[in-house]
Symmetry: C2
Subunit: 226 residues, 2 copies
């Protein structure tokens, strides 16, 4: 379970920017949450905190009941690499590696054999429609293809929690729906998903929609129609 308690994040640029302001949030295991809100409202900041890529300026983050601020860097790194999957808003692919090599990076931490990594990576590449692009490097891909490599990479270690920042922002509607099927399958197997999106037909796939405004939660709605 994920639990943010009075979490604040302030950046010290100019007069100071409060990106998150006293946020409280409880996400039970296996929930599928969509996070919406205006550009600059704090969505990526929240996702980065949840993904242990950054620490709060104030407040507490409990992951599975443990206070994340007490974890060593080694423990945080191990959690990020084995239990979390992260799709970045700007993809963050490794430019000198191929599609296959980019996808398989999280699998190194799981101690998986080379042939198993290659098989898993090709399987995921295929699942996101990149079966014929596996040897391309990021500069030889379209924007939506790069986004799909980032998605496949985030799924490769079969994460307990998938954190996805605008995963369909560069995808046509049809390809976006194919990715939604992949996420729905993951969630059906009990995995927790937190997905930032600005597209309501994408948010419609989630069980719950949280809307941020100026760094706090403006609304938090469970979908009773599922």
């Amino acid at each position: 379970v994920i639990n943010l308690e009075s979490v604040t994040k302030t950046y010290h640029v100019g007069v100071g920017v409060t990106a998150l302001d006293g946020v409280d949030l409880v996400v039970p295991d296996g929930q599928y949450v969509a996070i919406m809100g205006s550009s600059g409202s704090g969505k990526s900041t929240m996702l980065n905190l949840l993904g242990c890529l950054d620490r709060p300026s104030a407040g507490k983050y409990y992951l599975g009941g443990d206070d994340v601020s007490t974890f060593s860097d080694n423990r945080l790194s191990e959690i990020r690499n084995t239990r979390l999957g992260f799709v970045f808003q700007s993809f963050n692919l490794i430019s000198w590696m191929t599609v296959t090599q980019n996808i398989e990076i999280p699998l190194f931490y799981k101690g998986v054999s080379r042939s198993q990594r290659r098989r898993k990576s090709a399987e995921l590449g295929d699942m996101v429609g990149l079966g014929d692009r596996l040897d391309h490097r990021p500069s030889q891909l379209s924007g939506g293809q790069m986004q799909r490599v980032a998605i496949a990479r985030a799924l490769s270690n079969d994460p307990m929690v998938l954190l996805a920042d605008e995963p369909t922002g560069n995808l046509d509607t049809h390809t976006g729906e194919e990715i939604m099927e992949v996420f729905t399958d993951l969630n059906a197997r009990g995995r927790t998903i937190l997905m930032v999106t600005h597209e309501s037909h994408i948010a419609a796939h989630a069980d719950r929609v949280i809307t941020l405004k100026d760094g706090h939660i403006e609304s938090d709605i469970m979908d009773y129609n599922v």
Copy 2:
């Protein structure tokens, strides 16, 4: 006027990728065109060719009646910097420069004075809602804020032709509509706009919607309801 005649673009990776396949296109001055199509269908490739950032493998590109393949690199550079505005799918901001400095780059080519550049840049920053972020650098901005810097930069030299690749892909619906008002004003002043988008409520602002599929034009529809 823009005129593509049998334009083909092939990349030599693996067995070879034909990104555009014998495309014919005529765009009259002042038209507002939306380009849609699946991820990987050739939209960015087409926009890059139109923006003189790349050359066709075969076929001709006429800009204002002149065959672009006969232009020197200096002339192409001058056209790109003074007559075209380009919003890249991955923004391509300069990481060590502030928002203001990034926006004003095209104005150097117009021989505009420093105080005029600063005033124009602040004005545009304000217009896209970044008035309080002018001294931030790209790493200190949200994804949608970076996208808006790229948009402001593309508009700073008041281009005759605006080429925009998924300009609202990282923007919430409301901010996206604010950007659409800016584009509509530009078009009302007689400027040509070619905009790649996967969102139909964004494409609805254009006069004409072209859909690409596997490197050719699948449909080309004028909107008679405007």
